[in-house]
Symmetry: C2
Subunit: 288 residues, 2 copies
Amino acid sequence: MKNFIIRSISGIAFTAIIILAILAGPLWYALLFFIIIAIMANEYLNLTIGSKKSVTKALAVTAALSLFTTSFLIEYSGISYRYLLLCMIPLFAIFITNLYSKEYNVHTFTKESRVNNGYEMFPFAIAAVIYTALPFSCCNLIIFDSEGNYSAYMLLFMFIVLWMNDVGAYCIGSAFGQKGDGKRGRLFPSISPKKSWAGFFGGLACCIIAAVTMSYIDIFEISTTKAIVLGIIICIFGVWGDLTESQLKRNFGVKDSGRIMPGHGGMLDRFDAALLAFPAVVIFSLLF
Amino acid sequence: MKNFIIRSISGIAFTAIIILAILAGPLWYALLFFIIIAIMANEYLNLTIGSKKSVTKALAVTAALSLFTTSFLIEYSGISYRYLLLCMIPLFAIFITNLYSKEYNVHTFTKESRVNNGYEMFPFAIAAVIYTALPFSCCNLIIFDSEGNYSAYMLLFMFIVLWMNDVGAYCIGSAFGQKGDGKRGRLFPSISPKKSWAGFFGGLACCIIAAVTMSYIDIFEISTTKAIVLGIIICIFGVWGDLTESQLKRNFGVKDSGRIMPGHGGMLDRFDAALLAFPAVVIFSLLF
């Protein structure tokens, strides 16, 4: 019960902060997501590379924040997209510092023994940037209209649908989902044994209802057809995003990505669905 | 001796193909580098993930080629930089297909045993894109001038300086470099035991001489000061690029990245220096 109250309070506070920052204006939005990306990138690196402080991790977080900041400034200040190149500096610096790291390059090189010398630091550092910073950098493309005016409502729409997916999945899954240890009715037993198909469809229904409702509210400026399509996209890619993060955690044998939110685990656990769902929405909006 | 002749012939043919394609025009240049990137990405994936065919590898090569093609079309046809987003589709598809791959997600999850379930496929696939496609995608930024006219000479300048680095390092290193097994006079004994400081400075001298010479040839349109700076950048980052690729190969216990060039190993072995040197030049040109 105490845990339930802590979970609820931190969940509501978190939701309120996001909504307020998005509504407050572009710089507040950018500041909040700057912090969120820094935390997520750090959690990802702690999971994959290890929790020890290292130059590689600092550079990877720098690269992630550079990507988000540059893509924001391209839309906000109209700087040339060529400045995206600057994000490559910390990325390639990882490569070079990796060479000089005393812990690596200590290997006995024979045809028989393949001794690991820390090269995988580089792929994980890059993955941290692509996985945690690229999705929200995409969001920068939809928060300004063609005249450069800030419009928070599309992002707000995406967050509300995403949260309603969780709500629907939890309610319907708890009420109608299969109980017990079997695989029957399970969405993806090998990665997430608790997710049921009933929960998935409950979430999908909730997403569509929320999306259609918002399409009737003028400020969102979205047609009902587009709202339904986006609702379905957010639901499906959100579930995939959730599963891919579970696969990551399972791979490294941890339950939560961090402990930043009381009762909720890490920041990555909170945004896992958004990390696939939001780019999917942005790409869909670009194409259609 | 026979090996020396094979090496020379394939080396000259390779050099000639690159020079001719760059001079022939933007589409020939793009076609050649499209092929080179495909081969390099494949070699990188074979090294890191393994040589078995897989959907992940196909998607990673697709992402690499999408990045190069999109960045080329932004400059060549003037399409919006927003189309870079499309490269994310194959990247995120890797994530999702990884979920459904039967080989993975087979794990016994206890606190004691951390059983690998193939998550690292994703970081290596992303690294393949960043490592092999991003450097040449950067080059797309310098082959068109502000009026959109194709200008091959800057890229040609970069290649010639890069090759002169190899020539200088080989000649001076063979003549004056330390012999034997000691670490004395070695540039980076833990990764590349054969490279000597004598060779490094020989390469640097050759780079500067070649750069200055080209600055006196009108078609290159480059000042002597800029030529010297770029010569130094190409030399230093070229050596780092060489070392980082050696570190990769050492990590996975292989000698050559592939067997595509008779006597020379793989495509990645040929372009390792360019992969760090060219982005460094492009970023320097952007900033100064």
